[in-house]
């Protein structure tokens, strides 16, 4: 047994056999084979050769006798090569002598042959290495095909398996939906990549960013995927496997036990009604929000529309998508204008062609939008036009400057005038809010609250900017602490600013969906949460078990605490 570590992007536990997906053009895998597996490996080679030979025979029979004599003769030669015992002898002894896999042995043999042919001083003859290369390529294809190719597989072929790949392209992710796979893991990808989005939409655990360590895996290995911790256990011992099986059952049971919470109100023990909303990314996820009985969508991220494409989505396309989302719910939907830049460098966004040393502090979100009206204006027009199809709110990410708001408002004015002139309907009272995710905006929240209709605290960026740590950087992410006194104070300042200006304040960062913070936030006065739909029921249960009046004193103590140990102790007491 051994373990691999990466970024877990979908919660839950999966147990299944590995299915390595290999793509043409990727490097031929090379790995060591245990001495007791050598015979299996040489048998694999023999099987691949006979499979290649069988396929070639079929191809040969399909070629008509007339006119294709030359091709037939070449195929005949290739078939003879495949049937020649010498072809398997050499790579077979490489497998035995070096203890490596069949693919690598075959590749080494091919390289040797090529050297021999290249040494021949005759252009006609040295070109015959092409024939040998083609034959070897066929065998290599058979060996790799055992691993599996995602395309043109019958539906359900990979059911229950765990897909292992270097990376998954958007096209692969479409293919994957044909199989009820239990998890997937990739070398590349981060927590916000399309692979992560796929995991969430398929409701399966996934681990990305394994940094090349999938080379230690073989098709058929038994894997345990712990999506929450980002750990892959390979061929676990019976005892470990048993523990994980139990844990997996427990998760399934507790999910079922919470079903009754669907219809229940999100009301605290002392009768305070709390608004629990969902964060969505893909238009289809609105269905999930509705199924979970969310009060509304507190954050509809629009970045997805701009990803994995070379051309920007035009106004019509966007309008149709926003309309489709709004038409599926009678509850409010908060559309956040596109947050591109920083870690979301996408094809549809504008390439700057220069290295940005500190993208998180650079041209992103509202800054990028105001900078590039050809991107921003169609986006705003589409949202305004869609606003007549449901309760819509417009939310601006990463505000940090009052000037930006003034620019925004004059632009919104312009957009509305143009739409009116062109005869389009829109909601003239569309509420416009801002995300508080830059410390400057939190500290001066009162100034922003005066100009806006609502505020929403984005804790992920707020924590990153306030504590000056990059959450994706493995070396500093242990410092990521939502309960840091500075964070709690910034949240409090924002909540108070909202109260003073009499506008609602919500929270849509990950902190809002983590039930260990629910009571603290309720005690601080937060009444409006927005989170991943998967977290809704757990947070609702916590809300229903909370008496705000009873925890207020402890929360006030927490806000005054200096020592992180005392903070943790108080949180434990509040949560008990």
């Amino acid at each position: 047994m051994f373990a691999l570590h990466g970024n877990g992007v979908g919660a839950g536990i999966a147990i299944g056999t590995a299915r390595i997906i290999h793509r043409p053009g990727e490097e031929i895998p090379r790995y060591n084979v245990e001495p007791q597996q050598i015979d299996t490996e040489t048998a694999r080679l023999a099987r691949a050769i006979s499979a290649a030979s069988k396929k070639l025979k079929i191809i040969k029979t399909r070629i008509a006798d007339d006119g294709a004599g030359e091709v037939k003769a070449i195929l005949e030669a290739h078939l003879l090569m495949l049937q020649d015992p010498m072809l398997s002898q050499e790579p077979g002894s490489i497998i035995r002598q070096q203890g490596i896999n069949a693919e690598a042995a075959l590749q080494q043999y091919a390289d040797n042959l090529e050297k021999v042919f290249n040494a021949i001083d005759d252009p006609y003859l040295s070109s015959k290495s092409a024939d040998v290369a083609q034959v070897i390529h066929r065998i290599q294809g058979e060996l790799l095909d055992e691993h599996g190719d995602l395309n043109s597989q019958p539906e359900g072929r990979f059911d229950g398996e765990i897909i292992v790949a270097n990376d998954l392209t958007p096209a692969d992710t479409v293919e994957l939906k044909k199989h009820r796979i239990s998890a997937f893991i990739t070398n590349l990808g981060g927590p916000i990549s399309h692979t992560a989005i796929l995991a969430r939409s398929m409701k399966i655990p996934a681990i990305v960013g394994l940094h090349g360590s999938i080379r230690y895996l073989r098709t058929g290995d038994l894997l345990v995927i712990d999506g929450k911790r980002g750990v892959v256990l390979v061929n676990p011992d019976a005892a470990v496997l048993e523990t994980y099986k139990k844990r997996r059952e427990k998760i399934v049971r507790s999910t079922q036990a919470m079903d009754f919470l669907h219809g229940a109100a999100a009301r605290t023990l002392d009768g305070v009604l709390i608004s629990l909303n969902s964060n969505i990314e893909l238009p289809e996820e609105i269905a999930e929000s509705v199924n979970h009985n969310a009060a509304g969508v507190g954050l509809y991220r629009t970045e997805f529309l701009y990803m994995n494409r070379s051309q920007l989505p035009d106004e019509e396309e966007q309008y149709r998508i926003y309309r489709r989302v709004l038409q599926q719910t009678a509850r409010p939907v908060t559309i956040r204008t596109v947050d591109l830049g920083a870690d979301k460098q996408v094809d549809g966004g504008r390439a700057h062609g220069k290295m940005i040393t500190n993208p998180a502090l650079g041209l992103r979100a509202i800054r990028l939008c105001l900078h590039d009206l050809s991107l921003f204006k169609p986006h705003l027009r589409a949202i305004y036009r869609a606003s007549v199809h449901g309760k819509t709110r417009l939310m601006i990410p990463m505000i940090s400057n009052i000037d930006e708001l003034d620019q925004l408002f004059s632009l919104l004015e312009e957009v509305q005038q143009e739409l009116t002139a062109q005869g389009y309907n829109y909601d003239p009272d569309l509420p416009v809010g801002g995300m508080i995710e830059v410390p400057a905006a939190a500290i001066a929240a009162d100034l922003f609250a005066e100009k806006l209709d609502f505020l929403s605290i984005g804790t992920n960026d707020l924590i990153q900017y306030t504590l000056a740590i990059d959450r994706i950087d493995d070396e500093v992410n242990y410092l990521y602490e939502p309960l840091h006194p500075s964070i709690l104070r910034l949240i409090k300042i924002t909540l108070e600013a909202g109260q003073a200006a009499n506008i609602p304040v919500s929270m849509c960062g990950e902190m809002a969906g983590d039930m260990q913070y629910t009571r603290v936030l309720l005690g601080m006065g937060l009444r409006d949460f927005s989170m991943d739909p998967a977290a809704l029921l757990q947070v609702k249960r916590q809300v229903r078990l909370t008496d705000i009046s009873k925890i207020k004193a402890k929360v006030n103590q927490l806000l005054a605490a200096a020592d992180q140990k005392i903070v943790q102790q108080l949180v434990n007491e509040i949560n008990s």
């Binding site: 030359e70 003769a73 070449i74 005949e76 030669a77 290739h78 003879l80 090569m81 020649d84 015992p85 010498m86 072809l87 042959l113 021999v116 042919f117 040494a119 021949i120 001083d121 005759d122 006609y124 003859l125 070109s127 015959k128 024939d131 040998v132």
Partner: protein, 90 residues
Amino acid sequence: MIIERQINVINKLGLHARAAAKLVKMSSGFNSTIMLHNGDKSVDAKSIMGVLMLAAAQGAELRLVTDGEDAEQAANRIAALFNDCFDEGE
């Protein structure tokens, strides 16, 4: 019976894949063991991989050694195949 014979590769393409295939097919039809030598390289004429590895281009001088009851017939037929440029015209 062992027959030894000098063979010259006269066709333009030498012992390329199609020619090698013909040679191997023909050799396989005999019971005798059939070896081809090119300098210090020796290969079994019934193995196409071997024949290809022989690296015999136009102008190469090979030594053919057949050993078995049909050795003479084999040597004659194989020598003729080389002399007829593997029935490929040049």
